[in-house]
């Protein structure tokens, strides 16, 4: 008795490549009936994805990235539609594409193949995130336009986000994208692809969110000063 090829194919798509081999093998070994297989998959796959996201995301880098993205959309709104900044819920509406982009980046990192680095390098995850954000806005423009942000703001915001998010990723490469080693501790693996020495990287990682908060606050103040007469 073994699971159907179609079920395995579907699960293979859902399970991140870094742990696909062993999870599919374990599910095959535990196979008793199609129902039990489906139940196992429902219980296991979400936890495997979340665990992979936890392994590939560094909270400090995520914080830096979220602030950088929000700054991008604030700048875009200042340039393209300053009215949005003083509208009720305007600042919250600007946060929606930021959340979607961050989710896209996290998923892209989790689903990156550990032994096949992408030719697009650090720009790929940012492109995935921004692509998802654009799709979410298209859906909002079609269904609930009062929650969407204007086209021009979105275009400028996406361009700036792409630049800043890629910059952050070049400075702090995603953790855990390396092949899991036989004996090497994961902490060592996480530092191997960084462009800076380990000590300097730790200091930079600690300071980056504060600098980005400062930059965002400064920008928000400038925007507020010009928007409020």
């Amino acid at each position: 008795m073994h699971p159907s090829k179609q079920a395995e194919l579907l699960l293979g798509i859902l399970i991140p490549p870094a742990c696909r081999e062993e999870v599919l093998g374990d599910l095959y070994e535990r196979y008793r009936s199609p129902l039990r297989y489906a139940w196992d998959a429902i219980c296991i796959v979400p936890l495997v994805i979340l665990s992979r996201i936890r392994r590939t995301s560094d909270p400090l880098v995520v914080l830096t990235q979220s602030l950088a993205l929000y700054t991008s959309f604030l700048c875009a709104a200042r340039i393209a539609s300053p009215k949005l900044l003083v509208e009720p819920w305007g600042l919250l509406r600007l946060a929606a594409p930021v959340f979607v982009t961050l989710a896209g980046i996290a998923l892209d990192d989790a689903y990156a193949h550990p032994s096949r680095p992408s030719a697009l390098g650090p720009i790929r995850a940012a492109l995935t995130g921004i692509g998802l954000a654009l799709w979410s806005q298209v859906l909002l423009w079609a269904g609930a336009s009062e929650f969407s942000i204007p086209y021009a703001t979105m275009a400028y915001g996406c361009a700036l986000s792409l630049l800043l998010a890629t910059g952050v990723r070049i400075l702090f490469p995603p953790a855990g994208n390396q092949l899991r080693g036989v004996t090497a501790p994961a902490a060592w693996l996480q530092q191997s692809a960084a462009p800076l020495p380990a000590g300097l990287l730790r200091i930079a990682k600690g300071m980056a969110p504060f600098l980005t908060v400062l930059l965002t606050a400064l920008l928000a103040y400038q925007v507020w000063k010009r928007a409020v007469p």
Binding site: C19, D26, I44, R180, V182
Partner: protein
């Protein structure tokens, strides 16, 4: 020498299972052994994967992929073994558990400890 983090109860169970299984420690076997150790609790295989990932990140266990087998549809197993840091963390947990046991036995008396020990023997046997 690096000091190991203190372990949670579930992490202790997973490390004990890996220690007991020796060369045969991989997802399915670790899950069945942890279920035996955690009786009567039911344990999800997903929770085992999450804990194994966390233990590997902490440097307490190491993993490698074995050769593919037909029993698994031509797929490999991810096998685990304890690192020196993991062994030390588990040892510290076992020493603490022993101290807890001695403290409880001292407070509730030797008769209780003997009675409880008998019940435990039955359960294990």
């Amino acid at each position: 020498m690096a000091k190991p983090d203190s372990l949670g109860q579930f992490e202790q169970l997973v490390l004990t299972a890996i220690l007991m299984l020796r060369e045969d420690a991989y997802g399915v076997t670790i899950h069945s052994r942890v279920e035996e150790l955690a009786q009567p609790k039911k344990i999800s295989l997903g929770a085992i994967y999450v804990t194994l990932d966390r233990l590997e990140d902490k440097g307490l266990v190491a993993s490698w992929l074995s050769d593919p087998t037909t029993a698994r549809g031509g797929r490999a197993k991810r096998c685990y073994r304890l690192q020196a840091l993991g062994e030390r963390a588990l040892h510290e947990s076992a020493v603490t558990a022993r101290r807890v046991w001695e403290g409880v036995a001292e407070a509730w008396g030797e008769d209780w400890a003997k009675e409880w020990g008998k019940g435990w023997g039955k359960e294990v046997g």
